[in-house]
């Protein structure tokens, strides 16, 4: 073999045309195999389905929502005071929590669920002087630009932006709920009638509405923490940081502004991480869409195997605007943390009811226009606490 390798002369000769043609056919065939199958309904909207290896389908058959609720109940049970420090220290050792940062004495946390939703001491999370900061403690799973309305979950696997943030025309069970303090009878029909899918929503989100009544303004102030003076000062700070006029002109184009692009970033919170999330920038939340979905694990292991993971799971899409136009933030639940809390939305109830009552892709919507009469939404400063994830 050694002699043959060294002594056999190499002779080059042209391939016949037929071989070249076969090669091209093979390349085309492989390309077709690599294309993703996308299921669409009668109206051409993508139907999100459970796709992945057999392990994913086995998990899909489990009653994950019930498991999540039982998990939440077990972890809400009050622990004896003497067992708390040792128990939480063991938990912290397993999951890598820094106990020096926690706000309260370990004995004051009544249950593991209470400890899981712990607050941190002031000053433990300095805020960087950039336009966009991390909203949570965790690991950056993926980030990039959104092309063709699709967000990349992992390399080569995408999901629809429309499915993530909501398409009104797909489901008929969409229900509109007013902000907690707003009277349902005062809803302006036109305000809701012209919302038609995410593209139009972008237009709607970037515009302003002039239908607030004085009574709504009063209600909004009551719903805020602090005095009226504090609320006005807070709103003015957000408006100042956004670099925008208090009243924005309605934007007519459906697409992003010239010179702009759509970006995404996914941050995964591991079980030991601080589980409250904060505002990543100065922005105004105009509405939230609550999607009741499944509660698969969202660990990197799962994200690599289950396509459409982030549009299958229960989530709360907070949509609004910032200095450069559209801004959206979507906390996505998981089996162990099915409950999502939003501090300024007392009506929101997650991980309740049956998944069967809520067809995939449909959502419940609430608008926050009553929260601030100046900015027409819920204003948030950079790094301001917004809410968090609770066990179960």
């Amino acid at each position: 073999l050694a002699n043959a390798w060294k002594q056999t002369p190499t002779t080059w000769y042209p391939l016949p045309i037929a071989v070249g043609a076969l090669l091209l056919i093979a390349i085309q065939y492989r390309k077709r195999l690599g294309q993703k199958e996308v299921y669409v309904d009668e109206e051409g909207h993508e139907v999100v389905k459970l796709k992945g290896p057999w392990t994913v389908h086995v998990m899909g058959a489990l009653p994950l929502r019930n498991v999540s609720r039982v998990w939440g109940y077990v972890n809400s049970l009050e622990l004896p005071v003497w067992a708390r420090p040792a128990g939480f220290k063991v938990y912290a050792w397993i999951f890598g929590c820094n106990l020096d940062e926690v706000e309260k004495d370990l004995k004051e946390y009544a249950s593991l669920g209470d400890f899981f939703y712990r607050k941190l001491k002031d000053g433990t999370r300095p805020v960087a002087d950039v336009i966009l900061v991390s909203p949570a403690d965790g690991t950056v799973l993926h980030f990039g630009t959104i092309k063709g309305g699709r967000v990349e979950q992992i390399k080569g696997s995408t999901y629809s932006l429309d499915a993530l943030l909501g398409i009104e025309t797909r489901g008929t069970s969409r229900k509109e709920v007013m902000f907690a303090t707003r009277d349902m009878a005062e809803a302006d029909d036109k305000h809701f009638a012209d919302i038609n899918g995410i593209e139009y929503s972008l237009q709607e989100l970037l515009g302003t509405r002039a239908h607030n009544t004085p009574s709504e303004r009063t209600d909004a102030s009551v719903s805020q923490e602090g005095s009226l003076k504090d609320v006005v000062a807070h709103d003015a700070s957000v408006a100042s940081e956004m670099g925008a006029r208090p009243t924005l002109e309605r934007r007519k184009s459906l697409a992003v502004a010239p010179g702009n692009a759509l970006y995404f970033c996914v941050i995964y919170l591991a079980p030991g991480d601080y589980h409250r999330f904060h505002s990543p920038t100065a922005w105004v939340v105009e509405k939230r869409r609550h999607f009741v979905g499944d509660l698969f694990s969202v660990s990197p292991w799962m994200a690599k195997r289950l396509e459409n993971l982030f549009v299958l799971n229960e989530r709360v899409a907070l949509l609004g605007r910032w200095k450069f136009g559209f801004f959206g933030m979507v906390p996505v639940g998981a089996t162990n943390v099915g409950s999502i809390k939003i501090n300024f939305d007392k009506d929101l109830r997650t991980n309740v009811g049956s998944r069967r009552d809520h067809p995939l892709g449909t959502y419940t919507e609430a608008v926050y226009s009553a929260a601030s009469p100046i900015l027409d939404g819920q204003p948030l400063l950079k790094a301001q606490e917004m809410g968090g994830f609770c066990l179960g």
């Binding site: 960087a128 991390s134 403690d137 965790g138 970033c265 941050i267 982030f310 559209f326 906390p331």
Partner: protein, 31 residues
């Protein structure tokens, strides 16, 4: 649990993180 951010920004917007990087609240994400 996961937080997904989707936003419009100028084309010269740059992320200041890497895939797999650990981040904390308030740390730079992009500018």
């Amino acid at each position: 649990s996961t937080v997904v951010l989707v936003f419009e920004a100028p084309q010269d917007f740059q992320f200041l993180v890497k895939d797999g990087q650990k981040v904390r609240v308030g740390q730079p994400l992009g500018d």
